[in-house]
């Protein structure tokens, strides 16, 4: 099983598998309290692909993402990244959390420097690198602020800069914009696509927001009833702009996904 070399033909394009989910099951508890979150999930995510996972809450979207991050073990099956099994969290898989996860005891710039600090990059160099990433999210004026002095959307941007500055191989995002108001969310989605477009890191994005999923993704997995029941390819090219959100076909896809996820 050497996925590095393995190419798959999808809609006529040659693509390399980056993440492979092999027969993944997650079961919490035992016997009477047993809760099957999902069972026998098999899926492939290609290099440079942006995949969203949508589905009802409690359906295991975040659990699946945490398993990919190595923060949770599987009950059965395994996650392979570049053919290598995931056993623990690591720098190659950056995770943007749903809650505020930036460190409140560090200033904004110190937060962005964090990953570099872990690798003992010199003070001068890491400040320089961190400042560049802060500029990327338009927060350079807030470098010396405490996180408590920022709005929710700004904290999310710091988290993006922090993860980006750490240069992971794969990006995992757990409903990162779930708690934000609509305009802030749209703003951050555009910012995310802009940042993502620079080097197109393989991304798995968990969300319950269908519009968000369609706007951002190349493919969408619908996780319901304990498995990925539908996979949908988003036909729009890139770069994408806000005009797309009101496009007729865009609405059509939203409706289709709505049908998949709505509780019957």
């Amino acid at each position: 099983m050497q996925s590095d070399e393995q190419k798959e033909s999808v809609l006529g394009e040659e693509k390399t598998v980056k993440i492979r989910l092999e027969n993944i099951s997650k079961i919490f508890g035992v016997a009477k309290t047993k809760l099957v979150v999902f069972q026998d999930i098999n899926a492939e995510i290609f290099k440079q692909e942006f995949v969203s996972v949508i589905g009802p809450s409690g359906g295991g979207k975040s659990t699946l993402l945490f398993i990919m991050a190595g923060l949770l073990p599987t009950t059965e099956g395994r996650v392979l990244i570049d053919g290598k099994e995931v056993t623990e969290p690591g720098r190659d898989r950056g995770l943007v959390f749903q809650q505020d996860s930036i460190f409140p005891w560090r200033s904004v710039i110190e937060n962005v420097e964090y990953g570099l600090e872990l690798r003992s990059v010199s003070q001068k160099e890491r400040r320089e690198v961190a400042m560049n990433y802060l500029k990327l999210v338009n927060l350079e004026k807030f470098a010396n602020f405490w996180p408590k002095e920022l709005s929710g959307g700004m904290k999310k941007r710091v988290a993006l800069a922090m993860v980006w500055a750490n240069q992971p191989d794969v990006l995992l995002m757990d409903e990162p914009f779930g708690s934000l108001d609509y305009p802030t969310k749209v703003d951050l989605q555009n910012k995310l696509l802009e940042m993502w477009g620079r080097d197109k890191k393989t991304t798995v994005f968990v969300t319950h927001d269908i519009e968000e999923a369609v706007f951002l993704s190349d493919r969408i997995f619908v996780l319901t009833d304990g498995n990925i029941r539908h996979t949908l390819k988003v036909p729009f090219g890139r770069p994408r702009t806000d005009d797309l959100r009101t496009d007729k076909e865009f609405q059509e896809i939203r409706r289709q996904l709505w049908g998949y996820t709505a509780r019957g």
Binding site: A69, G70, L71, E88, P89, G90, R91, R93, G94, L95, F97, Q99, D100, S101, I102, F103, P104, W105, R106, Y114, G115, E117, L118, R119, W146, P147, K148, M162, V163, N166, L172
Partner: protein, 282 residues
């Protein structure tokens, strides 16, 4: 400017508060004087505290135990009285601070070891949970029995009391670190040791500082209690000996000093506290 005005209003209300207390005190003292010949014992006037009580401290100078002044005849008793107060104050404050500092080192150190290592925790938690329920004051006779009336006994007693409180406080602080910070740190590539150093340690500082605030008050109480029962020096010793000899004015002088010291120590601590919690959302 705004801060200055706030300070001014604080000073003003403090002055008003002190003035009210003094007025009631003097009023009551003079009222008692007209009623009973024992007024100078029940509630001495402020003048009495300043003129009689302070020279009365002279016999406590340099390890003296009250009673009659044993020094040179004709010595300036007022000055020696002040020196005696200063000397005993220094002894008491030093006991409080050294007890707090060493208690914090032992307590927080043990708490961190327990919080980081499950084996250590499983081994130490049951006995600590048990001994923390023993009221601290009941242990004074035991420490007296073990160590006699000695500095080391008092020191260990205060360290013990402070440490027990801070061990529990430290474990709670470690347990309360939100898991998302540790998870984030791990996905950024941190090792276990780095998670501890860059996440757990900074995250528990406000919790520890809160525990220290309580431990400071506790160190005061334990020091005074130890001095009442088990010391030959210090302000607590002066209070007890003055009480035995019905020198209420001397007791009042010491109590006023204790209030001042405790306010000063508390204010200094709060500066430290505000500094280490400056990043916390209010």
């Amino acid at each position: 400017m705004f801060q200055f005005r706030m300070l001014l209003s604080q000073v003003k209300s403090a002055i008003i508060g002190i003035a009210v207390i003094i007025a009631f005190w003097e009023g009551a003292a003079y009222y008692l004087k007209g009623m009973t010949p024992y007024a100078h014992i029940i509630l001495p006037t402020i003048e009495q505290c300043l003129t009689e009580a302070i020279p009365g401290m002279a016999p406590f100078f340099w390890g003296g135990q009250g009673g009659l002044f044993q020094g040179q005849a004709g010595a300036n008793l007022y000055l020696i009285g002040l020196l005696a107060l200063a000397q005993n104050s220094a002894i008491t404050v030093l006991r409080i601070i050294s007890g707090l500092v060493w208690g914090a080192i032992v307590g927080i150190g043990t708490g961190i070891m327990m919080g980081m290592n499950d084996k250590v925790r499983k081994f130490l938690e049951p006995p600590i949970e048990l001994i923390r329920t023993i009221p601290l004051l009941t242990l004074i006779p035991l420490f007296m029995y073990w160590f006699g009336i000695s500095e080391i006994g008092r020191f260990l007693y205060i360290v013990y009391g402070v440490a027990v409180v801070l061990v529990i406080n430290t474990i709670n602080a470690i347990d309360n670190v939100p898991p998302v910070y540790k998870q984030f740190s791990l996905t950024m590539g941190a090792s276990r040791g780095q998670v501890f150093r860059t996440v757990v340690l900074p995250a528990i500082v406000p919790g520890l500082a809160g525990g220290l605030k309580f431990a400071l008050a506790l160190s005061w109480a334990l020091t005074l209690a130890a001095e009442y029962l088990n010391a030959l020096s210090g302000l607590g010793r002066i209070v007890i000996l003055s009480e035995i000899h019905l020198f209420t004015d001397r007791m009042i002088v010491v109590v006023v000093l204790l209030i001042i010291y405790s306010l000063v120590l508390y204010a200094a601590f709060m500066r430290f506290y505000r500094f280490v919690t400056r990043w916390m959302p209010s």
